[in-house]
């Protein structure tokens, strides 16, 4: 055990910490990440406002597992494996909808597998198997083929969290105090979604989380240089690390009107300064980012070592008037969204990294060595992430294959 722990400690503080680029490109490491990380931890998924009514549903994929999130007839949100226990077909195929609408193969209010019309209610119980008695006699009962249910909670701004691991630690323990910095903004009153889009980028998921975990890349953004880096308070922003790989970034007062055509924010969230800016980065791949009037939440679905889907959501307050929501949308789109000034630049950044770290490319050292007392250009956010990555993977990010050998001995 001691030898393995020594191998994974890459942030010694004495030299320049680095990671081996193969952690971003190796298929075997990727597969191991799905098993040891993505199938074990709590993941933030959709927002409750995407399922406002009983029997609304959303479908998604987590670590290659098809999942359906359903608001039950009792109003409670649950998560199930979206796979028919009969022949393994997908049950719900649309990204969202309402079970109140009957499908060609089944009745309203049920999830129906279109293949052989097995039907399930919003609690995941199998409620109909066509010609069950004739085909199975008494060898199979509906009670034996309920949909597999996953741990699921609504928390931290009304988001739906789930874990594929039935034995996962409680969500509260996994998150700890990481949301303390944003609790008032997120949980004083209900939020509502106004923006959703997704991007598939030929790059590794961790590279996007790295981007969200360091601000040194503000040199890439003219908008951020003008409105933030040149403004008072920028270099006082502090990273705070939390157990399980999470970290937060403290606020500053952004001077939006320093960018021609942009304006100071007039709307905000409870407890949030109008031009404030806070972030919460969550292991292994989600970020809450509040800039004054809009909350952006990034969630990732790793598809392969060199391919990731990133979903971007924008949220305001549920009680917003149409005019207020329109203002939040305008503020959001100034920098975010597929035509925003900053997001396009960020995605170009990890696209270029993806080019240089294709599977099979020459291993390189990727530096994580900036130390500035945990302030905004310190790379503590990334180092903290990879310390947790090392703990869960049993590999050193700077020497991933040597560590695996040690662990295997």
């Amino acid at each position: 055990m001691t030898a393995q722990r020594d191998e994974v400690a890459y942030d010694s503080g004495e030299t320049i910490p680095y990671v081996d680029s193969r952690i971003y490109s190796d298929q075997g490491i990727f597969e191991e990440e799905l098993e040891k990380i993505w199938k074990k931890v709590w993941l933030v998924t959709v927002h409750e406002s995407e399922l406002p009514d009983p029997l609304d549903f959303r479908t998604l994929t987590v670590a290659r597992e098809p999942v359906v999130i359903v608001r039950g007839s009792d109003g409670k949100i649950r998560a199930f494996l979206n796979v028919c226990p009969h022949r393994g077909n997908l049950i719900l195929r649309q990204p969202s909808g309402s079970l109140t609408v009957a499908e060609p193969s089944g009745n309203a209010n049920h999830m129906t597998c279109m293949f052989h019309a097995w039907q399930f209610d919003s609690f995941g119980r199998c409620v109909d198997i066509p010609r069950a008695k004739a085909g199975y006699q008494d060898r199979l009962k509906k009670e034996d083929v309920a949909l597999k249910q996953f741990p699921c909670e609504v928390a931290h701004g009304g988001f739906v969290w789930l874990s594929l691991d039935r034995d996962a630690q409680p969500l509260a323990d996994y998150i700890g105090h990481a949301f303390d910095i944003m609790q008032q903004e997120l949980d004083t009153e209900p939020l509502a979604i106004f923006h959703y889009h997704k991007a598939i980028i030929p790059s590794n998921y961790k590279l996007w989380h790295d981007t969200n975990s360091e601000f040194y890349h503000d040199y890439m953004h003219y908008f951020n240089r003008a409105t933030s880096m040149l403004q008072k308070g920028y270099f006082e922003r502090q990273y705070t690390a939390f157990p399980n790989g999470h970290c937060t970034v403290g606020s500053m007062e952004v001077k939006y009107d320093a960018y021609q055509g942009a304006a100071d924010r007039v709307l905000s969230f409870p407890g949030m300064p109008r031009n404030g800016w806070k972030m919460v980065d969550l292991f292994p791949g989600a970020t809450y980012n509040i800039r004054g009037s809009s909350l952006r939440v990034d969630t990732m679905t790793p598809i392969g070592p060199d391919r990731v889907m990133i979903e971007f959501r924008g949220l305001g307050l549920k009680r917003d008037t149409p005019d207020e929501q329109a203002q939040r949308v305008r503020d959001h789109n100034t920098i975010w969204g597929p035509f925003g000034r900053n997001l396009h630049e960020d995605l170009l950044g990890i696209t270029g990294q993806g080019v240089s770290m294709r599977p099979g490319s020459t291993p390189r050292h990727i530096l994580h060595g900036r130390r500035e007392n945990n302030s905004i250009h310190d790379e503590i956010g990334m180092r903290h992430f990879y310390t947790e990555w090392a703990r869960r993977m049993g590999r050193s990010p700077s020497d991933p294959f040597a560590s695996a050998l040690v662990a295997a001995e």
Binding site: Y222, V329, P338, L348
Partner: protein, 169 residues
Amino acid sequence: MNIVATAELKSVEPAIREVIYRACLLLDDEKFLDWLNLCAPDFKYRITTYSPEIRRQMTWYEQDVPGLKVMIELLPKHNTDHGRLTRHATVYTIDVDPSQNEASTTTSFACYRTMLDGINSHIDSGETQLFLIGKYYDRFRIGKEGPRFLERNVFLDTRRLDKGSHYPI
């Protein structure tokens, strides 16, 4: 009161069609300020779509003429994908409203991106990919100088735009 007689309004249909196509060519050539010269001073530009994921209409971009001018002027300060966008458009309908000296049009379009530096220029530059499809829903004000864009709603069918774009569509 009509600025232009009804018969003349009907005859502006070819002019409206030509303005839409001319706008496509100017956007293709990245002559964005020349494109704005085809627009009325109170022109409004939006990029919108409907998300079946969250079951909501969304606005992804919204600007007036001063905002568009600033965005265009600041483009050189931003890192961007310099792949050239090319629009292929077909004007489907032109509905002239003589009482308002206005017209509304529906144009279906596809927008291609010919790659330059967006991914790996050595390998990908010169390749053309379909970037997005959608419809232009335009409104025109018809004056003595001809039709001018009053409003453009770029309604996108394509919702997965990957790294997106800094350019008007």
